[in-house]
């Protein structure tokens, strides 16, 4: 599923590999945030969940004017 209102375009979404490797203790020991299996998943600061970039929710906030 793709579209302009998916998580990847949301202000609450964080999926930069550097940030993820720092946020998830031990991730770099036996894996990496740069691998294919992670796809574009990231952390949602609104729901405190690790979600797919293609997910959606009612709290979507456009990334323009990112806080």
């Amino acid at each position: 599923m793709t579209g302009p209102d998916r998580c990847l375009s949301c202000a609450y979404f964080r999926n930069q590999p550097v940030e993820l490797e720092s946020a998830m203790a031990g991730l770099v020991s036996l894996a990496s945030a740069y691998g294919s299996t992670r796809a574009d998943d990231g952390l949602c600061a609104k729901h405190d969940r690790y979600v797919s970039a293609n997910a959606r929710c009612d709290d979507f906030d456009p990334a323009k004017g990112r806080r």
């Binding site: 020991s29 691998g35 797919s52």
Partner: protein
């Protein structure tokens, strides 16, 4: 755009962008680049062996010193080549090249020392196999001394192991992959499904959230930390769930690196059966290769059937072909179940089958292509010609570079594993995961050493 240059908090790296924004593809470019250059030089009557230098077997320090005095230029050139190709990838991925270069110098110098220790003719007698030495030295440095943050940029465990696996493809005949692949897939499917069900069932019975139970289950059943974070994202787990799974996978994976080779040795398993068992029962590729390489050396030292290379081959077929490639399907199915059957989270996943390709571990493609290339190049040579000409000029140098990549990886595992900084896992997740570990290890042994033993023994033929 990179994290450093853009300040953006999101990055899209799927689709075509994956070709330069994911380390799987960089492992393919680097690994296949080496294989193609090696094959072209071989076809022209030359070889990459000058630059694929490794410390030789040695008895006395003077002998080793003489080798380094005579070959130091080759090590300098090799270091610069590794640095150049890894730095190109690191720059494209968005990491700082200057930090990487300094870190990689540290990594290379100590990896050279680890490699040299492993080549001592008494090393096996004292269990100084390079994977174990690299792991213990790395763990000691990171947990007792610590490393400056700037020095960590070069400790890229996954990147090194994926590059090594692509190079490994060049040393594994494609016929072997075709012959053993179906058995590996069957054995892996049995173990993966049973392990996942055990962890998930015990986890849910202990009161764990279903998404955490699934994240733990995938870590134990499929491919360790990579599987845990893939499933955590696919099912929309809480942000603390993946770190819990990461902690448990790391702790058990490190225990297994030491335990499996020595139990396999005590049971007198052949190199290939031991490798298959490790491929069935280790969780992560990097940790599994450390265990399989160690077992190859143990089996050789104890004069058990098979060769060290067969332990690596069996492990690879079992782990990479049998387990890793299915992560996309696991993610797709579990995302569907999470969306349709589990409690709502307020986030709608609505997964599609595209998930299977998006999460496919692409480095496996490089592994298969490398095998095809070398199989094609070496077609038509008799066994005698292969041993006399093809192996020393083409296959052995690629294998030596693969060994280097694996040592970078094993040392990086130790250097990046700081037990104090791991997330607290808790008793219930520990019990659920450990139940799966117990079943996985026993079932993996029965399938490798009894049910499918004849197939794994057949690798030797």
């Amino acid at each position: 755009m990179t994290a450093h240059s853009s300040g953006l908090s999101t990055r899209q790296s799927s689709g075509w962008r994956e070709l330069w924004l994911k380390e799987d593809w960089w492992a393919i470019w680097l690994g296949l680049g080496i294989v193609v250059i090696a094959a072209l030089l071989f076809a022209g009557g030359a070889s990459i062996k000058w630059v694929a230098v490794t410390p030789p077997k040695w008895h006395g320090i003077a002998q080793l010193g003489a080798h380094f005095a005579a070959n130091y230029q080759r090590y300098i050139v090799q270091f610069l080549l590794w640095l150049a190709i890894f730095a190109a990838a690191v720059a494209a991925l968005g990491l700082r090249v200057r930090d990487f270069a300094l870190s990689f110098l540290f990594l290379y110098v100590l990896s050279l020392a680890i490699f040299a220790v492993g080549q001592w003719d008494q090393a096996n007698r004292y269990n100084l196999e390079p994977p174990l030495v690299a792991l213990i030295l790395g763990l000691a440095i990171s947990n007792l001394i610590g490393t400056p943050r700037a020095l960590e940029a070069g400790f890229r465990v996954e990147f090194y192991i994926k590059t090594g696996i692509v190079l490994l493809g060049a040393t594994l005949p494609i016929q072997l992959i075709i012959w053993a692949g179906p058995i590996a897939i069957l054995q892996a499917s049995i173990v993966s499904i049973v392990t996942f069900v055990v962890i998930y069932w015990v986890g849910v019975r202990l009161g764990l959230d279903r998404r955490l139970a699934a994240t733990l289950g995938a870590g134990g059943a499929v491919c360790g930390v990579s599987a845990s974070i893939a499933i955590a994202g696919a099912v929309g787990a809480r942000k603390e769930d993946a770190p819990i799974a990461i902690t448990l996978v790391i702790v058990w994976a490190i225990v297994m690196i030491f335990a499996l080779p020595f139990i396999a040795g005590a049971l007198h398993l052949s190199a290939s059966v031991g490798g298959a068992w490790i491929g069935t029962s280790e969780f992560a590729d990097a940790a599994g290769f450390a265990a399989a390489q160690t077992y190859g050396a143990v089996a050789e030292h104890d004069k058990l059937a098979g060769t060290p290379e067969q332990a690596i081959w069996a492990f690879t077929l079992m782990k990479v072909i049998g387990r890793d490639v299915w992560i996309g399907i696991w993610a797709f199915v579990l995302a569907l179940v999470a969306t349709t059957r589990w409690e709502r989270t307020g986030i709608a996943g609505r997964p599609g089958p595209g998930e299977i390709w998006r999460r496919f571990p692409k480095f496996v493609i490089g592994f298969a292509i490398a095998s095809l290339i070398v199989t094609a190049v070496t077609r038509g040579y008799s066994l005698g010609e292969f041993n006399a000409r093809v192996n020393p000029a083409l296959v052995a140098p690629i294998k030596d570079l693969r060994t280097w990549a694996f040592i970078f990886c094993f040392f990086s595992i130790g250097l990046t594993t700081r037990f104090r900084s791991l997330a607290y896992a808790g008793r219930r997740p520990f019990l659920a995961f450990t139940s799966g570990v117990a079943v996985n290890v026993i079932l993996g042994l029965v399938l490798s050493a009894v049910v499918f033993a004849a197939y794994w023994e057949g690798l030797a033929r």
